[in-house]
Symmetry: C2
Subunit: 306 residues, 2 copies
């Protein structure tokens, strides 16, 4: 699948991702700190999951979307961190015994295994709450920025809430053991995974001046890569390497989850993901080289092995 051009892109991407991951990790570390006045275990549990190895795909998408419209990328950072906190909380809760009962995540025992169930529930709650606090309290924000901060909170809450990600998790659990068609499976994942990925991109656009054409293009891009990401996630759950993935494989099949390889077959699912990414790249055609990070991230989604 690779040619020399995409290999070059791939190498650039690694440096790009690493640099942004470092920035995000440092910021996350600053935002959740131990305080001697506090019971340390709740903070340790927040840090345990939040600072574990992660691709930081969602916060990087927010920053890359701001880059695509020549926005203020430094100003996106707190919102980007809030997005990662919400993503992490959702992983902690989804992994709980009452939900997906997963034991391994981001290369380490899940929160309820390492700590206990009560601590895992509270750490998730705390990260979700902290996300909104972080956006509301940005120290450098000017009064005129307040409307933008509110808009970030609105987009994020809607994407993460009962009409978005939580709805998707509910549908995912409820549909286990039933046979969904492709349309229903896409709708499920548009909520479960897609909503927060789309929110990440759209939040990035708030930090620059995007016209309607750019917004439509970026929303389309986000929708397509969100779905592609989930298809690849399903593929890797069948054919991936647990050591690289940092989580168990084969679990979807055991839990009778509806998946794209289950519905389409492994090879067709892979082709479907590539097709979605091609369409995502076409969505970006109105942009100049500023959208190259978004382009390489899209390509990375189908090439990744974790």
């Amino acid at each position: 699948m690779l040619n020399s051009k995409s290999e070059t892109n791939h190498m650039d991407l690694q440096a790009y991702l690493k640099s942004h991951q470092q920035t995000i990790n440092a910021a996350l570390g600053d935002l959740v700190r131990e305080d001697t006045n506090l019971a340390t275990r709740i903070v340790q549990a927040m840090q345990y999951s939040l600072l574990a190895g992660s691709k930081r795909l969602r916060p990087i998408l927010a920053i890359a979307a701001a880059e695509a419209i020549q926005g203020d990328t430094a100003a996106v950072l707190p919102a980007a961190c809030a997005i990662e906190m919400i993503h992490t909380y959702s992983l902690i809760h989804d992994d709980l015994p009452a939900m997906d009962n997963d034991l391994l995540r981001r290369g380490q025992p899940t929160s309820h295994v390492h700590f206990d169930e009560a601590t895992a529930i509270l750490a998730g709650d705390a990260l979700l709450t902290r996300a909104f606090e972080v956006i509301s309290e940005q120290k450098d924000a000017k009064p005129k920025d307040a409307s933008r901060q509110l808009r970030v909170i609105q987009i994020l809450a809607r994407a993460a809430g009962y009409e978005g990600m939580i709805q998707g998790q509910m549908l995912d659990m409820d549909s286990a053991g039933q046979q969904l068609d492709l349309k229903s499976l896409k709708a499920l994942h548009q909520k479960k995974t897609g909503a927060l990925i789309e929110a990440s991109v759209m939040i990035g656009t708030l930090y620059g001046n995007a016209d309607d054409e750019a917004l439509t293009a970026l929303r389309s891009y986000a929708n397509l890569i969100g779905l592609a990401f989930q298809v690849v996630d399903d593929v890797l759950n069948v054919s991936g390497d647990p050591a690289r993935l940092g989580k168990a494989v084969g679990t979807d099949s055991v839990k009778k989850k509806n998946t794209f390889p289950g519905l389409l077959g492994l090879e067709k699912a892979r082709m479907y993901a590539r097709d979605l990414v091609q369409k995502a790249l076409i969505s970006l055609k109105i942009f100049d080289t500023q959208a190259d990070p978004l382009r390489t991230i899209a390509t990375y989604i189908t090439e990744r092995d974790h």
Copy 2:
């Protein structure tokens, strides 16, 4: 304990509470509605806990605090509803088997009993998320109100988060079976219950013009009644009527929780609550009759049987 004056107050209070409860209940019903495009169970689970019988103490405190400073009480309503959503989410999660494992709440089976554990976790997550969404999206808000909405989110997130309510729940569970002294027990409950009650009052003050003296007085009032409320809660867990309370009694003792009656004895705990309420009333001495609702709520806290 009652005299003719407090009886009159008490009757006024019943009408005051009922009227505000109706307003809040109607607003909450509007804010969490079923949508045919959504899986209905998550919305039903949110409604089940949110719309069950409740005193609505926290949202009423927010409105009463605005009244005390002649503020815009209608404008407080969305924030007041958000506070109740956060309170309700905390009850759902605290009741989970991994936490306090309670079976009855607000006169009905707890969420995880009526639905299941996964649904209860998600319903709590959804109410917490919806709270922040509601504050961020107020339809009637003007751009100049954005800073106030952000400030509400900040106060609420801080009170509910890992430095506040979540910290308190963690301390409460961790200290079960250990003997805390009065200072530590007060510190625990300042976080577990007090932080959100204080936040309710302080959020109310954002909807009017409170000077520093008024803010200091109201903060002191909130601190004192927050603690009094918890002391009475502990007392009712020993001596209350489960039918009136809508939840089981005697559970603190079974779980070896640290409580005020456990530490002070039942009668001294009752006296302690009355003393706190007297001090709360003294805090309000700078206010005219506009603070009468706050005064009667304070008195109600020690007189209540549920």
